[in-house]
Amino acid sequence: MEERHTCTDKSVLDMTNPKPKAESQSDEAEDPDGGWGWVLVGALFVSTSLVFGLMRSLGIFFVEFVQYFDESAHAISWISSTGLAAQQFFSPLGAALCNAYNARVVVMTGGLLAGLGLILASQATRLYHLYLTMGVISGLGWGLVFTPMVATVMAHFTRRRTLALGLAFSSIGLSSFAFNPLFQLLVEKYAWRGALLILGGLSLNIVPCGALIRPRRRSKAPAKVDSETGSSPVSVLRRISSYLELSLLSERPYVTYTLGITLLNVGYFVPYFHLVAHSRHAGFSEYQSAFVMSAAGASDILGRIVSGWFSDLGHFRLIHLLSAWTTLAGVFIMLLPLSSLSGSYSALMVISLLYGFCSGALTSVVFVVVPLIVGVERMMGALGLLQLIESGAGLLGTPLSGFLKDVTGNYVASFIVAGSFLILGTLTMATLPHYFSCTDPPPPPQRSSLDDKHNGLHSELEHMTSSPSSDTNHRV
């Protein structure tokens, strides 16, 4: 009980000092919190912008597609839905391949596929060609890129994980600011075909980002390969399920967390889709509504970076911070329609800025909590599965809010339901074990079987990097 009062005791920081010295003896191990880690943050910055920043700016092409293919806007919007769904669906595949082989190979292949999809799309003569190329092929590429890169960056940091991710994810907002005018220019100069071709080339820049991943001796692969020899179907299936970390689905903490994040996702995207329409509905001009959206986007970028920096200061547990940001974001989403009901533009603006900040803040923290629950070793597979499961929520949330708007006639109900889903997510996360304690729980037991001296050293170091005594107490 006294622990609560000494939550901010920083004397345990001294224990972290010997760690870097020990690890620098082995060139193989990652340097925590420095050096090459920041290079990888840069790589993640670039690849995230080429994946999500690009996805967000594809709207420029849609007008051209509608005209060229003579299809409805709804049919065209399925292109980006397919791309996003493929990215999330293939995330576990990317994670499993990284576990089986090598993150560098997977990310470079993903980059090639993403570029190839767009290059092929430039030759499309029918709409379904676009679904297959921009949707499936590029989506597969993106899936092979995002989760492995995030997991790799997180493995390279311990104390600055959230800041690293926050900085890297700020690229999404920044790049969509840059890509919108760039894409517009490309389409005007080269028509959509040439623009897609050039975009495919740009996406190939993910390949050097992947090349920056240093191949490491993974303690995991030999453990699995050694224990499961032979190619009988059973052992193959067992290996595949271990690469995919399917065993996580039976562990309560992970399932609880995934459920919480899924609920969060139901409501998270609603303002992105409906804020502008809602502002227009409330009587503001087109320009004012677009400005509200841009302002929310700008505060989103700020929120990611500030949240990353703040979380790593260590004053609070990450899971508590995540709950706080999620609850606040949910509250602000619910306040959005109510603020504009009064007709005041400044109230809408303030709430949108606050909402943007909180929603950006929570994205920095969401992924970093995962290794705290499942351990650094299984982080890759855990992230893949998380992406897959939360994708369903995104598909549910937007149609639901649209339906509510059609039924009630305005956006009030949609926003309130969306906000309440976020709060539900927080409540779900509150059922995680050790939620109400001041310290992070111990990570699950490490995998066994590392006889080799180097691998033994490596596992010991990994244990040190993720053990509560060395890194999480100071975050307490």
Binding site: N102, V105, G194
Partner: protein
């Protein structure tokens, strides 16, 4: 009795003379319909002088008797009589000088114009005392929703140009398409070349599809909204480019990617060679890196060979 016969012959003569007069003074290829002037509907447009450079838009579809009424409240010291006259397209209309009386604290000029054909459209101005002017732009509805940037397409591909008349404006009777040929416009007849051109008309929208594009198809295309009085034109530029245009920046980017990947892999190889002298731990890595031609694809295959 004789008087009435004389009157009849006189009227017939008058009619014949005026008919001949009509025939000789309108040499244009499409003569306006010879409807008696009185049977045209009357359209009245009023305008009160508000300030300098005042322009009123008058949109007409069909032949009308257009009555334009200008009112002006006058200066401080209002004189009882001022002069006023009418201009068309900047030129004074003959016999339009009038003396205007001050009535109800304002001056009023009105005139009826017969708008029956394209020549009658233009800029009509009423002028008071050569200083106060109100312009009436009499025209068919202009096409508002038209693309101002050029439509870019590729050789061998097909291009689409659309023109739309807004919902707030009246629908045209039909649409026509023209291609600019020097300073002239040539009408495009889709029926004559069905493989190349296709025109899809929808009351408010029209689409021109040009198949199998060649560089010669570049240029200005005009869509015309045909109304009884005249045709309203809008133009769109079509640019046809070859695939080499976007290919140049694309190849530049691919080269940059290639160089980056090579540099990164080379850098890593040199670093690991340095570390080679420090310990055996790097020996495995160097062995597998050496066959790697520093191309992304082949680099990946060499990585795959390494099983740790």
């Amino acid at each position: 009795m004789l008087a009435s016969w004389k009157q009849l012959i006189f009227q017939i003569l008058l009619l014949l003379i005026s008919c001949r007069h009509i025939n000789t003074t309108s040499p244009d290829p499409t003569p306006p319909p010879l409807v008696p002037i009185d049977s045209l509907p009357r359209d009245v447009r009023r305008a009160a002088f508000k300030g300098e450079g005042q322009i009123e838009k008058v949109e007409l579809l069909n032949p009308v008797n257009l009555e334009l009424v200008c009112t002006w409240t006058g200066h401080q010291n209002k004189e009882s009589n001022i002069t006023g006259f009418w201009r068309k397209d900047g030129l004074e209309i003959e016999n339009s000088h009038l003396t205007v009386q001050l009535e109800n604290e304002q001056y009023q000029l009105q005139q009826v114009f017969n708008i029956v054909s394209e020549e009658n459209l233009g800029n009509y101005s009423c002028v008071f005392e050569s200083e106060v002017k109100i312009d009436f732009v009499v025209a068919v509805p202009q096409i508002g929703e038209i693309r101002d940037k050029p439509v870019v397409t590729y050789v061998g591909d097909s291009g689409v140009i659309t023109c739309k008349m807004e919902d707030s404006k009246p629908m045209p009777n039909t649409w026509k398409w023209y291609k600019a040929n020097g300073t002239d416009k040539e009408e495009i007849f889709a029926a004559a070349e069905p493989q190349r051109y296709e025109i899809k008309n929808n009351e408010r929208k029209t689409k021109l599809l040009v198949n199998n594009l060649t560089m010669a198809d570049s240029g200005l295309y005009y869509c015309g909204a045909v109304y009884t009085l005249s045709t309203s034109m809008g133009h769109v530029e079509l640019k046809v480019i070859t695939y080499y245009e976007p290919l140049k920046p694309f190849m530049a980017i691919v080269a940059e990617v290639f160089i980056l990947v090579t540099a990164i892999l080379l850098f890593e190889r040199s670093r690991s060679k340095k570390n080679d002298t420090e310990g055996d731990m790097m020996s495995d890595q160097t062995n597998t890196l050496s066959p790697g031609e520093n191309n992304g694809l082949e680099g990946s295959s060499s990585m795959r060979q390494r099983k740790t």
